[in-house]
C-alpha cells in the first residue's frame, strides 16, 4: 500500500497543467476548451518564471509542468518526486544576424553575440557550438539579456547577432528586413552528435504521486495531448486564433513561427536516448545545469 | 511627614557647565517661595530638579516624593496641533471627570481672557496670550506643588498685578507649595512667604527674607517692601557687575 489515500483507479477532479507562454504550449490551448474523454477538466496555468514553475512542482500544485528538459533533470536530481512524461519541443533556437558576412559560427570571431539568460540552455548550447566550430573561449563576446529585450534591440538594429528562440525569431524576421537565420540549433546538433540524435529542449514532467494514483488518466491525457499537438503542427492557421486569444501572440507570427518550431510528441520512456546525449553534453559543460549527474532510468515515466 | 522640601548639597552639571555646586536650601510646604537671581544663575535648573525632570549629580532632594506637580515652563510649550481648549483638555483629561472638565476649562479661560479664543490654534495667539494659556493649564491641573518659571512675563502691568492677586486667592483656597521664579523683585515681595535672592552661577543664597505681612496689606509703597526691594536690587546689581562689567 503506497500510503496514498485515493484509490489507484479513480479519476482526479481536474488536471492542472502549467506551461510557459511559448510554442510548446500551443497544443494546450486547443485542449483547454475541451475535456478529456473520461470527463476530467483541464486547468492551464501560464507561468512567468522558472521559480514560479519549480515552486508549484515542489508544492505539488501542478500535475503536469512544461519545463526545459535540463530543469526537469535538475529537479529530479535534487530529489523532487517527478518523472519526465514526454518531450514535445525539439529545437526552437536559432542564430540570427543582421550582418551579411556572418554565415558560420566562426564568423562570430570578435563579434558581439547576444544570448538569453546566462547559464541557461541557449547559453550552454551556444558555447558548445562555438567551441565545436573551433572558437576559443572569449573569441566571440557573449552578452546576456532576456530574449524579448534582445529581440527588440535587434529590430532596432542595436544588436547584430543573437541567439533567439521562436517566436521571437519570427518577430525579428518580420520586423527587420536584414535579419537572417544563420544557424538552426537542431541541425547543428545533429551535425555534431549524429543524424540519429535529436535535440530535446522541453517536455512535460508529471508528479509521481499523480502518476501512481491515476495511471489511466495519464494515458488519456497523453493521447489527447499528442492529438492536439499533431493537429497544431498540421493546422497552424487554425490554431493561430486560439493562440492569439489565449496568449496574445499575433496569428501571423504564430503561423510563421510554426515553420521553425519543431513540435513532436515523444513519451518520456522513448526519449531517453536523446535526452541522455543532450544532458551529458550539458553535464560536461556545467554540471550545475543538470543537477550534477545524469538522471537514472526512474526519471523517465514508464508507459 | 516632612514639612519642607530640601536641597542638600546638590551638584548639577549641564554639559560643560557646573550649574549647582553644593547648593542647599529649603522651602516650607504649603507656602509660597519666590526665587530671584541673575539671568543664567540656575533658577530653571532648580525647578527642573524639583519637578524631577532632572536628577542631581550628587546631593539629595527630599520632600518632593509623591507630590502632584504643575509646572509653568519658561517657554509656553503649547501643543501647536490642539486648540486653546484642546491644550487645556489635554492635561486635564486623565485627571478630571468630563463634566467638570468643561466647566473648569471655561472658568480658567474666562479668567485669563482667552475664552473667546478657545477654538483658535496657538499660532493665532500673541506672545502674552500663549503665556496666559500656559499659566491656565498649570493652574487648572490639580497640584500640590506649583512650579512657576517667570509665569507673568510678556504680560502688561495690570494683568500681572491682577494675576499676583489671583495667585494669592488661589493659594488661600488651596494652600499648595509654590516655587515662583521671577525677575521682578516687587512681584516676589508681593507674593512670597519667603523670597530668596540667588547669586550668579554657581548659585548660592545671597539673601533670604521671610515676610509675615498678609497679602492684602502688601503694597508696593508699604514698608518693609521698599527696603527689601532696595537691598535686593543692590545685591543683584553687585552680582551683575561681576559677570557683566561692561554694562
Amino acid at each position: 500500500y503506497s500510503g496514498d489515500k485515493t484509490p489507484a483507479s479513480g479519476t482526479p477532479e481536474k488536471i492542472v497543467v502549467q506551461a510557459p507562454l511559448a510554442p510548446p504550449t500551443a497544443p494546450l490551448f486547443k485542449m483547454a476548451g475541451e475535456v478529456l474523454p473520461d470527463g476530467t477538466p483541464l486547468e492551464i496555468i501560464f507561468y512567468k518564471s522558472v521559480e514560479e514553475a519549480t515552486t508549484r512542482v515542489v508544492k505539488g500544485e501542478a500535475d503536469f509542468s512544461v519545463l526545459p528538459v535540463n530543469v526537469a533533470a535538475k529537479l529530479y536530481n535534487k530529489g523532487v518526486d517527478i518523472s519526465l512524461a514526454n518531450v514535445s519541443t525539439w529545437g526552437i533556437l536559432y542564430l540570427v544576424s543582421l550582418e551579411s558576412d556572418v554565415r558560420e559560427w566562426t564568423d562570430l570571431r570578435g563579434e558581439e553575440l547576444y544570448v538569453g539568460a546566462r547559464g541557461s540552455t541557449p547559453d550552454v548550447l551556444t558555447q558548445y557550438f562555438l567551441s565545436r566550430s573551433g572558437l576559443k573561449d572569449g573569441e566571440a563576446h557573449l552578452t546576456y539579456l532576456d530574449s524579448p529585450e534582445i529581440a527588440r534591440m535587434m529590430i532596432n538594429g542595436l544588436v547584430k547577432n543573437a541567439v533567439l528562440p521562436e517566436p521571437m525569431l519570427t518577430q525579428v524576421l518580420m520586423n527587420h528586413k536584414e535579419a537572417r537565420v544563420i544557424r538552426d540549433f537542431y541541425s547543428d546538433w545533429q551535425q555534431y552528435e549524429g543524424d540519429s540524435t535529436a535535440l530535446p529542449q522541453a517536455g512535460m514532467v508529471v508528479l509521481n504521486q499523480f502518476a501512481r494514483n491515476y495511471p489511466g488518466t495519464i494515458s488519456e491525457f497523453h493521447r489527447a495531448y499528442a492529438g492536439a499537438l499533431d493537429w497544431t503542427v498540421a493546422n497552424p492557421a487554425e490554431a493561430a486564433p486560439l493562440v492569439e486569444a489565449s496568449a496574445s501572440i499575433p496569428a501571423p507570427v504564430f503561423v510563421q513561427s510554426m515553420e521553425r518550431t519543431r513540435l513532436r510528441f515523444v513519451p518520456g520512456s522513448k526519449a531517453r536516448a536523446d535526452v541522455d546525449v543532450y544532458l551529458s553534453r550539458l553535464l560536461d559543460f556545467s554540471p550545475e545545469m543538470v543537477g550534477g549527474k545524469l538522471p537514472d532510468e526512474k526519471f523517465y515515466l514508464s508507459d | 511627614m516632612t514639612v519642607v522640601i530640601k536641597f542638600e548639597n546638590v551638584h548639577k552639571t549641564l554639559g560643560p557647565t557646573r550649574v549647582l555646586e553644593g547648593f542647599s536650601f529649603q522651602a516650607e510646604k504649603g507656602k509660597i517661595m519666590c526665587l530671584v537671581g541673575p539671568s543664567g544663575c540656575g533658577k530653571t535648573t532648580i525647578l527642573q530638579l524639583l519637578a524631577g525632570l532632572e536628577l542631581p549629580d550628587a546631593g539629595q532632594i527630599t520632600g518632593t516624593e509623591g507630590l502632584k506637580v504643575s509646572y509653568v515652563f519658561q517657554e509656553p510649550r503649547l501643543l501647536l496641533w490642539k486648540t486653546v481648549a484642546g491644550n487645556m483638555d489635554f492635561v486635564l483629561r486623565d485627571a478630571i471627570s468630563p463634566a467638570r472638565r468643561q466647566e473648569l476649562i471655561a472658568k480658567y479661560l474666562s479668567l485669563m481672557g482667552l475664552y473667546e479664543y478657545r477654538d483658535s490654534y496657538p499660532k493665532a495667539l500673541s506672545g502674552g496670550m500663549k503665556q496666559r494659556l500656559a499659566l491656565c493649564r498649570a493652574l487648572a491641573f490639580p497640584h500640590d506643588l506649583l512650579l512657576l518659571d517667570e509665569p507673568l512675563k510678556s504680560l502688561d502691568m495690570p494683568l500681572r498685578l491682577g494675576l499676583v492677586r489671583q495667585l494669592t486667592n488661589m493659594w488661600r483656597e488651596n494652600p499648595c507649595t509654590m516655587v515662583f521664579v521671577t525677575h521682578d523683585i516687587m512681584e516676589a515681595l508681593l507674593l512670597g512667604h519667603r523670597v530668596v535672592v540667588l547669586s550668579a552661577r554657581p548659585a548660592t543664597l545671597l539673601d533670604t527674607v521671610d515676610l509675615n505681612l498678609p497679602f492684602e496689606q502688601r503694597n508696593i509703597g508699604r514698608e518693609p517692601l521698599p527696603s527689601h526691594y532696595e537691598r535686593m536690587l543692590s545685591l543683584l546689581e553687585a552680582e551683575s557687575m561681576k559677570s557683566l562689567p561692561y554694562l
Binding site: 514560479e52 524579448p148 532596432n156 518577430q171 | 515652563f73 501643543l79 501647536l80
Partner: protein, 250 residues
C-alpha cells in the same frame, strides 16, 4: 488676478505634458515602434485596452492588491517605527530586520513568498515588503526629531504613554510619516506590477508580461502610462487629504 495666477499654474503641468509628448513623438521617429512606439500608437492601444474592458478587468486586481499591501504597510509600519524610535531594545532587534526588508531583492523573496503566502497573495506581500521600510524609517526619524520639551510637559501632567504617543508623538511624526506614505504610495504601483509580472495570472503586471513576450511595446507603454496615471491620481488624493488635515496648525 489671483484666479488667473492659479489658472496659469493649473495649466503649467499641461504645457509640461505637451512638451513631453512632443519630445516623445520626436524620439519615436528615430526608433522602430518595437522599441519606442509613438504616442498615438500607445494612446490607441490604451484605448483598445480600455474599450475591451481588459484595462479595468486587470487593473481592478492590481489596485486592490496594491491598496491592501499599502494599507498593511502603513498599519504595521507606523507602530513599528514608533517602537524602534521609542525603545532601544526593540531598535537593536528590529532595525536589522528593516534593513533585510529593504535590501533583499524581489527575486529572493519570490521563492519564499510563493511557498508561504501562496501565488495569489505574492503581490500584496511584495508591496508590503517594499513599502514597510519607507514607513518605518520615516516614522523612526520623526520620533528622533521630536520636541523634547513637550515630552516634559506630558511627564509633568502625567499623561499616559498611549496618549503621549497619540497626542504628542503622532502629530509631530505626521510630516515625516507623510513623506513616507507619499513615497510608499508611489512605489506601491510599481511593486504590485513587478510582482504580478513575475508570478501572477491577472493584473497589470501580468498584462505587461504578456506584452513583453510578444514584443508589443505599445501595450507595455500603455500599461506603464496607466500605472503613471494611477500614481498621479493617488498622489493628488493624498496631498488633498493631508493638506486638509494639517492646514490648521502648520
Amino acid at each position: 488676478m489671483k484666479n488667473s495666477i492659479s489658472l496659469t499654474r493649473g495649466l503649467l503641468p499641461l504645457f509640461g505634458l505637451a512638451a513631453f509628448i512632443a519630445f516623445w513623438q520626436l524620439i519615436s521617429g528615430f526608433y522602430s515602434h518595437v522599441v519606442v512606439p509613438s504616442p498615438a500608437e500607445v494612446a490607441q492601444t490604451l484605448w483598445t485596452l480600455a474599450a475591451g474592458g481588459e484595462l479595468w478587468e486587470q487593473s481592478r486586481h492590481s489596485i486592490l492588491r496594491g491598496l491592501l499591501g499599502f494599507c498593511l504597510a502603513v498599519a504595521a509600519g507606523t507602530p513599528l517605527g514608533l517602537l524602534i524610535g521609542l525603545n532601544p531594545v526593540a531598535a537593536s532587534l528590529l532595525r536589522p530586520l528593516v534593513v533585510v526588508l529593504q535590501v533583499t531583492p524581489l527575486i529572493s523573496w519570490l521563492l519564499l513568498a510563493m511557498i508561504w503566502i501562496g501565488f495569489s497573495r505574492v503581490p500584496v506581500f511584495v508591496v508590503f515588503v517594499t513599502t514597510v521600510p519607507l514607513i518605518v524609517i520615516n516614522t523612526y526619524q520623526g520620533v528622533k526629531s521630536i520636541d523634547r520639551q513637550l515630552l516634559q510637559v506630558a511627564q509633568i501632567y502625567r499623561i499616559s504613554k498611549p496618549r503621549v504617543i497619540r497626542e504628542i508623538y503622532l502629530p509631530q511624526v505626521a510630516p515625516y510619516l507623510l513623506a513616507g506614505v507619499s513615497n510608499a504610495l508611489g512605489v506601491t504601483w510599481k511593486a504590485v506590477a513587478m510582482a504580478e509580472f513575475l508570478s501572477v495570472q491577472q493584473g497589470i503586471g501580468a498584462g505587461m508580461a504578456v506584452a513583453r513576450i510578444n514584443l508589443e511595446t505599445a501595450a507595455l507603454f500603455a500599461w506603464t502610462l496607466f500605472l503613471i496615471g494611477l500614481g498621479l491620481v493617488t498622489d493628488r488624493l493624498l496631498a488633498c487629504v493631508t493638506h486638509h488635515k494639517l492646514k490648521h496648525w502648520m
